[in-house]
Amino acid sequence: MSTEKRKKGLPVTSSVFAFLSLFCYWLLTIVSKESGENTTLVLILLGISFAVHLVNVFTDVFKIPTLLCYAFDFIGLFGALAGRVSYLAFFFCGDIMNTGLSVYLLSVVLYSIISIVLDSIQVAKNK
């Protein structure tokens, strides 16, 4: 593998997961009307996250894009979770509310965490 490809490997991969987070969150807003967060705001934040990831594929000028990718990974994840914490509460309380965890929410969490890991590696690799 060439050095050029190695450089793009992580940014491209993490941007894919950033996109998947955005897509799954969008699906979540369609199937579930119950939210404590501002869904439009979170969609925008996840959208910005994806946009920043795309920029990072092409350039990491002043090391800022990788840092922004990392930051928006967290912002998007916690923004989505903030309004959905009721799912977790009911789930861990034995589901007496007959409410299950949404697969879309779980996907958002999973993809965001992967993206965080990949972006953490990128930031760590920057000298």
Binding site: G36, N38, K63, G94
Partner: protein, 976 residues
């Protein structure tokens, strides 16, 4: 000197970025769920200032301190257990006198705890300190052994069989059949000792039919509570004579109830067309009115009268050949034995047409050798006529219409005359197809006194000239029957409410599945038991049903024009203030009203206008929207915040105060590890670890049939409220035991609406007297816990009114009920929480109740019901976790937001009315203790809110700064 260390700043920036995101999101969550956070931390969001405690303790304890109260409370629990223990069979082995030796098999099957999910769980201390069977029997002087080798030398062996379930699901069908382990236990006992005593513990009717003949005695003891085992032991040892009566029919087979054919998990076949959440499930009450004894006794009568194909094979479980009562039923509803005998005589029956009541006067004499109490149960039979058959009006052969319990009657002649008041509207039948109101048929009517429904019915059959030769199980006693004739069908007298005078019409046509799909359901009718025995309903929702289920925004879509027509939109005056700061600021310049001055005044007193006009929109929002942890403060009317608790067996909170001064209200907090002595033994318990929920189950209380004991329970709940600092309790479950597998059996009184009503009413009155608002639940049609959230309960209106609503009626009216919780389910398609005909039509217009209504725990944004429609329909308060004032997310779009309430005149009027109900009921609670004429109330910001915001700011600044320093240092490094 290297000022910028790139790696260090990189680490700091990564950590602070992550922490900032987490903190900011966490702050949002905490604010969205601020009631939950405050509740968890025990924080108030308001405070009473400058309170003069003189003469402002409206509710005080009857006891000097918690220890004295606790000692009396445990004695009361012992009394509940004594009188709620039911003796069903006894060949003379009981009572076991002091000094006797008894073997016990399965002592740990004694059921103690009637709480379940929603009621929380006891602390380890409570669990560890509860009294078990062995200790209680020893306390009463028995020698007890669990060693099987010693059973042969014992005077008797007690085999303990127990069952308990709880909230959130129903007991799995089949669980009432004896397990292999239980059978082995029985066989072990039987082999060792001929005097085997069954002790069936818990509130379920285990299938013991095959072994009834083998045992010397059978005792039914429900969930005993903390010290109830002492009461049970008192019965077993003869300290007191048993006086409990069954609250359910004990069938030989737990499958034999016709309701079992439609019990469990049913899903629409075309559920993929239903988009709304929690809308896919249904259950159909095809048995109509014929649940529990209404089924067994009515079918029995029809067997004796040889009518209605009653002795057909449909529904047979234990009979061989056709249906036979004696094969299908072990013990009837209301049955219970004593160690003594009683003679009863009807002395007088008088009717009071203006009040629409009757009084049955009965003399009870103790003709045996032991002191004892007896219950006088009055049943009624109304005629089943041709009109009824043509109009699908069903008639139970007997129905409980009233009861009283004597005091202890001395042996050998002690006697007492009791008067049983009968609300005559309970004899009327709801004719939902013909007259569409309550009717009284022409024909023969009977009052009958009996030891249970079956005994009372046999007395009536005796009067009708029937004998054992006709299939009666025993000869009846005609002298215990009073009969009279009604000459003509009456569709007028009971067509108006006896409480309010309001006209009573059909309200729940759409709760009947036949309304949506014509002919879908054939209800069980006594005119043809065989042909109409229920079958399991398999259902595809019709297009209309689907459209209605999917219409979750009923209010906004304007499809509820009829609702808006029924609710008067009115111009209301209020303070147009939308946050706590503006309320505080307003009150700094203007005097508050004092709502406590309205204590003792009627709900409709004109002076309420002054109070309600002073409420701000912000305060109304808080009252209406947040009901889970608090009843919120309203400073503009000097109304302080109160906290509540959960559980049909009491307030499941630790006690907080040791003593409360009756004059000043000054409370002495419990010290950590403070101990108290028990009221029955010398046992010592740690006061700070005890909780207030230690009573016997509701079934045990109902099994006492003792209204005075029920009143005492209510008063002790009030005492608990004082010592825990609690002003309300989601406390009284009164749904019916529709089948033997009801999940929350222990938390609902019985299978009969009148018994529920007349035992529940004194509890709410007692609690009201001592200052705790007792919220009754779940209103209505919530007989199964499976799929309870959103399940569509389909039933005809006769069954709904005469069975399921009746369970609430007496509590709402005679019980002066102050609060009621709607059920999770739908009645028909519509959620109970937003069902106008239920929470306004029946509750207010027909019953005249001034109670406040609250939802069960479910967000109004969940789609189960339209929160705005619920408020307009008459709901007062949501049992909601979230923050009403959230301006983001879905909360922003529903009732909870004060801006929305203020912008909609109909919502504003509804919220004002809701606030009226809440204030009216809570000024008659201990929540107003300490509020005097010179008090005022202020909102306060909980400490964690500004703390979190400060942390957020600091963390974000740190993230930005460290990131900038990292970027600068990294790029400088590169340049270098």
């Amino acid at each position: 000197m290297r000022i910028f260390k790139t790696k260090a700043w990189k680490c700091v920036s990564m950590v602070s970025i992550a922490l900032s995101a987490l903190l900011v999101a966490g702050t949002t969550v905490a604010n969205n769920y601020s009631p939950m956070v405050n509740g968890f931390l025990g924080l108030q969001t308001s405070k009473v200032v400058d309170s003069e405690n003189g003469n402002s303790q409206y509710y005080t304890s009857d006891y000097a301190n918690l220890e004295e109260m606790y000692q009396n409370k445990v004695k009361h629990i012992r009394e509940e257990a004594r009188e709620g223990t039911v003796l069903l069979k006894n060949n003379g082995i009981l009572p076991l006198a002091k000094g006797k030796k008894v073997g016990v098999l399965g002592a740990n099957n004694l059921m103690f705890d009637a709480t379940s999910g929603g009621g929380g769980f006891h602390s380890d201390e409570v669990d560890a300190k509860k009294t078990g069977l062995i200790d209680a029997l020893k306390f009463d002087g028995l020698t007890v052994t669990e060693e099987k080798s010693e059973f042969a030398s014992a005077d008797a062996v007690i085999v303990v069989l127990g069952r308990h379930w709880g909230e959130g699901s129903d007991m799995p069908v089949g669980n009432l059949i004896l397990t292999q382990d239980e059978v082995e236990r029985i066989n072990t006992a039987k082999a060792a000792n001929k005097n085997m005593i069954f002790l069936v513990s818990g509130d379920y009717s285990i299938e013991i039919g095959a072994y009834v003949k083998d045992c010397a005695a059978i005792v039914k003891a429900g969930n005993m509570g903390f010290r109830g085992a002492y009461g049970l032991a008192d019965v077993l040892t003869g300290v007191v004579s048993p006086s409990g009566k069954l609250v359910d029919t004990w069938a030989a087979s737990s499958y034999s109830s016709p309701a079992m054919e439609n019990w469990g998990d049913f899903e629409y076949a075309n559920k993929n067309k239903i988009m709304a959440s929690q809308a896919n499930k249904y259950v159909s009450y095809n048995e109509g009115i014929y649940t529990d004894y209404r089924y067994y006794e009515t079918r029995y009568e029809d067997c004796v009268l040889s009518q209605g194909n009653a002795n057909g094979s449909a529904g047979v479980q234990k009979s061989s050949g056709g249906w036979s009562y004696s094969s299908e039923v072990l013990y009837s509803f209301g049955f219970g034995l004593s160690y003594t005998t009683f003679e009863k005589k009807i002395e007088d029956v008088s009717f009071h047409p203006e009040q629409r009541t009757a009084t049955v006067t009965v003399n009870v004499k103790n003709t045996g050798n032991v002191d004892g109490k007896e219950v006088v149960e009055v049943y009624a039979q109304t005629p089943y006529t041709q009109y009824d058959k043509q109009n699908k009006v069903e008639k139970s052969s007997v129905q409980l219409v009233g009861f009283e319990k004597t005091s202890t009657l001395k042996a050998n002649g002690g006697e007492e005359t009791v008067k049983v008041e009968i609300p005559m509207q309970w004899l009327a039948s709801f004719d939902y197809t013909g007259a569409k109101t309550y009717i009284m048929d022409a024909g023969d009517y009977y009052f009958s006194i009996g030891n249970g429904a079956h005994d009372a019915l046999n007395n009536i059959l005796e009067v009708k000239g029937k004998t054992v030769a006709n299939g009666m199980t025993a000869k009846g006693n005609a002298s215990l029957v009073y009969s009279w004739k009604q000459n003509a069908l009456d569709t007028t007298t009971y067509s108006t409410s006896v409480y309010t005078g309001a006209k009573i019409d059909n309200r729940f046509d759409d709760a009947d599945l036949n309304y949506w799909i014509n002919g879908k359901v054939t209800y069980l009718t006594r005119s043809d038991w065989q042909g109409t025995y229920p079958v399991t309903v398999k259902l595809s929702a019709s297009d209309d049903m689907i459209a209605s289920l999917n219409d979750t925004k009923k209010y906004e879509n304007g499809k509820w024009n009829d609702l808006k027509d029924r609710v008067k939109e009115q111009e209301v005056e209020c303070l147009e203030l939308y946050d706590d700061a503006s309320v505080n600021s307003y009150l700094a310049a203007n005097a508050a009203e004092n709502v406590v001055a309205m204590r003792g005044k009627d709900y409709d007193d004109p002076a309420w206008e002054t109070i309600l006009n002073r409420l701000s929109i912000y305060e109304m929002s808080r009252l209406v929207a947040e009901g889970r942890y608090f009843i919120n403060a309203c400073p503009s009317v000097t109304f302080a915040q109160g906290t509540g608790g959960d559980g049909p067996v009491g307030i499941l909170k630790n006690y907080r105060y040791y003593s409360i001064d009756q004059t000043t209200g000054e409370a002495v907090e419990l010290k950590k590890d403070q101990t108290m002595q028990d009221g029955i033994t010398n046992d010592v318990v740690t006061a700070t670890l005890l909780d207030a929920g230690m009573y016997t189950s509701e079934c045990v209380l109902a099994a006492t049939w003792n209204k005075d004991l029920a009143f005492e329970r209510g008063k002790f709940i009030g005492e608990d409220g004082l010592y825990t600092g609690t002003s309300y309790l989601w406390g009284l479950g009164t749904n019916l035991h529709r089948t033997p597998y009801t999940g929350r059996m222990a938390e609902y009184f019985s299978a009969d609406g009148v018994l529920n009503s007349m035992i529940g009413a004194p509890v709410t009155r007692g609690s009201k007297e001592k200052g705790v608002v007792l919220v009754v639940k779940h209103f209505a049609g919530n007989e199964q816990d499976q799929n309870r959230i959103g399940v569509a309960t389909f039933t005809n209106e006769q069954a709904f009114r005469e069975n399921y609503l009746r369970a609430f009626e007496g509590i709402a009216t005679y019980g002066e009920m102050q609060g009621i919780m709607t059920a999770y389910n739908r009645i028909g398609i519509l959620s109970c929480t937003a069902e106008y005909d239920l929470i306004t039509g029946v509750l207010r217009e027909e019953w005249g109740s001034t109670a406040y209504t609250m939802s069960d725990l479910n967000s109004p944004t969940s789609g189960l019901y339209d929160g705005n429609a619920a408020i307009v329909a008459g709901l007062s308060n949501f049992l909601n976790n979230g923050n009403f004032n959230a301006t983001s997310g879905s909360y922003a779009n529903c009732t909870l937001n004060p801006k929305n309430i203020g912008a909609d005149p109909l919502l504003l009027a509804a919220a004002r009315e809701a606030s009226h109900r809440i204030l009216y009921n809570f000024i008659h609670s201990n929540q107003v203790n300490g509020i005097s004429e010179t008090s005022h109330v202020e909102f306060i910001t909980p400490w964690w809110q500004p703390t979190l915001i400060t942390l957020d700011v600091l963390c974000v600044l740190a993230a930005v700064a460290s990131s900038a320093l990292y970027v600068i240092s990294a790029n400088r490094k590169e340049e270098n």
